[in-house]
């Protein structure tokens, strides 16, 4: 079994305007897993990721990444936000957006140069978006926008990747292309955490899963815990997913 813990969450409680939306979450995510976070709309999946990334301040609990606080480990982490969290009419091109992924390693004030541009072009190539590099981002389709954000995470060259619904509104080809890139990342012993809604594909895409609905319902290897019992506890109705072997 894998024993290096990439992310550890202890007693995490997060609230918006003093109304908690995540209660007392404990979570250990081993290094090198491709993990799905599943749960109904409003379960707090995005909130959990944002709190791990320090975008939201929890009212209680702590998060550590390889044993240290997020602030110290920032360079190890890349994040693809849920769609709609950026300003699509912003005057910027696909290439420019991907370059933003390199800003973290540059730090304050220093500006991106040729090296960063080359990295960005390579990442665009990887997600098949090179022909669109000079497009204004609002002129891309939803799936193409998603690929741009994936490319942006790839240039960060992180150890841990968070993706909030990367498959939202993408076609089957793109979905397979994305999952293949994610599987490659896992092969390189990176940890990938994906908010995922399509329960049918969980066993096929992921090897680890966390059930979340305000509280943590369960977390562990897909083959051990991805069952009707946990699904029912998470979604509240009787859930039946037959896992094809």
């Amino acid at each position: 079994m894998k024993n290096n813990i990439a992310i550890k969450v202890d007693d995490l409680t997060v609230a918006y305007n003093y109304k908690p939306v995540l209660w007392d979450i404990d979570l250990e995510i081993p290094e090198g897993v491709l993990m799905a976070i599943v749960g109904p709309n409003g379960a707090g999946k995005s909130t959990l990721i944002k709190s791990i990334l320090g975008i939201l301040n929890p009212i209680a609990g702590s998060v550590s990444i390889y044993g240290k606080s997020y602030e110290k480990q920032r360079a190890l982490v890349a994040y693809v936000p849920q769609k709609g969290s950026v300003d699509w009419d912003f005057p910027t091109t696909a290439l420019d957006v991907v370059m933003m992924g390199t800003y973290g390693s540059l730090g304050w004030i220093k500006r991106p140069g040729q090296k960063e541009k080359k990295l960005a072009l390579e990442a665009l190539e990887k997600v098949g978006m090179l022909p669109f590099k000079n497009r204004q981002i609002s002129q891309l389709s939803g799936g193409q926008q998603q690929r741009i954000f994936l490319a942006r995470a790839l240039v960060q060259d992180a150890s841990i990747y968070f993706m909030d619904e990367p498959f939202q509104g993408v076609d089957a080809t793109t979905e397979i292309a994305i999952i293949n890139i994610l599987k490659e990342l896992r092969k390189a012993n990176k940890t990938v955490i994906v908010v995922h809604h399509d329960l049918q594909t969980v066993p096929e895409y992921f090897d680890w899963v966390t059930f979340l609905n305000v509280k943590k319902i369960a977390t562990g290897p897909v083959k051990d815990i991805f069952n009707d019992d946990n699904l029912t506890k998470t979604y509240g109705i009787n859930y039946k997913v037959s896992i094809q072997e």
Binding site: I55, E71, V77, Y79, P91, T92, I109
Partner: protein, 386 residues
């Protein structure tokens, strides 16, 4: 031109540049209204600063007033965070209160000094050359020129240093935060620059022109480009152009300079709004018309390719078959003929080789969306311009 005239234009231009830079980011952050709020609510700060310093151009006064600007922003955000009202309502609640406190302070205490509400709102560029800065008895130019010059230098320095940070936190605050560029720091930095610029400029040009110079050039530039750096450059050019042309308009009409500059800003925006090559109203209408024609052409060619039967390809029959209410069939037929894509033989239309090729390429492109396939067709057809 007299030296006073040159000085006025120089001051107006520097104010325009100093406003366009934070203005561009305010427009992109959809915070145009905040600049309005700041420009009005700094009044109490200015009045209190004036009581203390007795000098409208003192750095201390600028600082005090800028702090009032920040307080405005904080108050607006605080009210908004309660979730009871929206941002515009919060702005509408905060700045009239602060502004009226300023008005009352003036009415109560400053009746006899050079500080009245009109001057604050409208400023008077024409008087700026008379208030000189003397260093060791030597006249080094108008005070306003020095004040706004210093503010502009600081703004440009900050812009060059933090361009990347401003860009990323405006575009994607979540990513900025996760990469360690605190969006809050950048947000309040921008608000501070906006407040300082507003205070520094208000004495010369008045609160209303400051707002106009922050928002209008940036909004105009936004219509013309999809590149942030270019947007900044355009906004600066529009600001300076309006400042100088507005000055001469006022000279010619013998009217208020600030009013004329604002008018020029409005005219410029209107022109660009109508005539901008991509986002302009006329360009959009023209493009839509072209696209309609071209979609009809393609539908028509596709129909020809899919039907070998002669009756399906009879000129009269085509009118019924394809939905051409919006585009006259004659236009489409002529366009196809002109481009050698069809031949008409005894009222029967058929595709030429070029027409067949074009149709397959176009369909390919629409499905795959690969630009390389249609590179050579881009000049002829709007459909393919991305």
């Amino acid at each position: 031109m007299s030296s006073a005239q040159i000085e006025i234009q120089l001051i107006a231009s520097l104010v325009a540049i100093a406003c366009a830079i934070p203005g561009t980011f305010l427009v992109l952050r959809k915070m145009a209204m905040i600049s309005d709020a700041i420009s009005h609510s700094i009044l109490p700060g200015i009045v209190i600063g004036f009581f203390i310093t007795q000098d409208l151009n003192s750095p201390l006064l600028i600082l005090l007033a800028a702090i009032t600007g920040i307080i405005t922003v904080v108050l607006v955000e605080y009210i908004q965070k309660t979730g009871l009202v929206k941002e515009d309502t919060a702005i509408g609640l905060v700045f009239p209160i602060l502004f009226s406190i300023g008005v009352i302070l003036i009415a109560k205490n400053a009746n006899d000094v050079h500080l009245d509400v009109d001057a604050v709102l409208l400023g008077e560029l024409a008087f700026t050359p008379f208030d000189r800065l003397l260093i060791a008895g030597v006249d080094v130019g108008p005070k306003s020129l020095w004040v706004i010059g210093c503010i502009l230098l600081i703004t440009i320095g900050l812009l060059f240093a933090f361009f990347k940070e401003l860009k990323i936190s405006t575009f994607d605050a979540g990513l900025a935060a996760s990469l360690g560029f605190s969006p809050a720091v950048i947000h309040y930095g921008l608000m501070t620059v906006s407040s300082v610029t507003t205070v520094g400029a208000f004495d010369a040009v008045g609160a209303i022109l400051v707002v106009a110079l922050m928002i209008a050039p940036a909004a105009t530039a936004y219509l013309l480009t999809t590149n942030l750096k270019r947007m900044l450059v355009y906004a600066i050019c529009f600001g300076v152009f309006s400042a100088i042309s507005g000055y001469w308009l006022a000279h010619w009409l013998d009217a208020s300079i600030a009013g004329s500059i604002t008018t020029m800003l409005g005219i410029l925006f209107l022109m660009v709004y109508l005539f901008a090559p991509n986002k302009g109203v006329i360009a959009v209408l023209y493009r839509e018309k072209q696209q309609r024609t071209e979609v009809s052409l393609l539908t028509f060619l596709l129909h020809l390719r899919n039907h070998n039967e002669e009756e399906e390809r009879h000129v009269n029959h085509l009118n019924e078959h394809i939905n051409w209410q919006k585009v006259r069939s004659k236009t489409v037929l002529e366009l196809a003929l002109k481009n050698n894509m069809i031949v008409i033989d005894n009222h029967i239309v058929s595709l030429t080789e070029k027409g067949t090729d074009f149709t397959s390429q176009a369909i390919d492109y629409i499905i795959t969306n690969e630009d390389s396939k249609i590179e050579h067709m881009k000049d002829d057809f709007f459909l393919f311009r991305g």
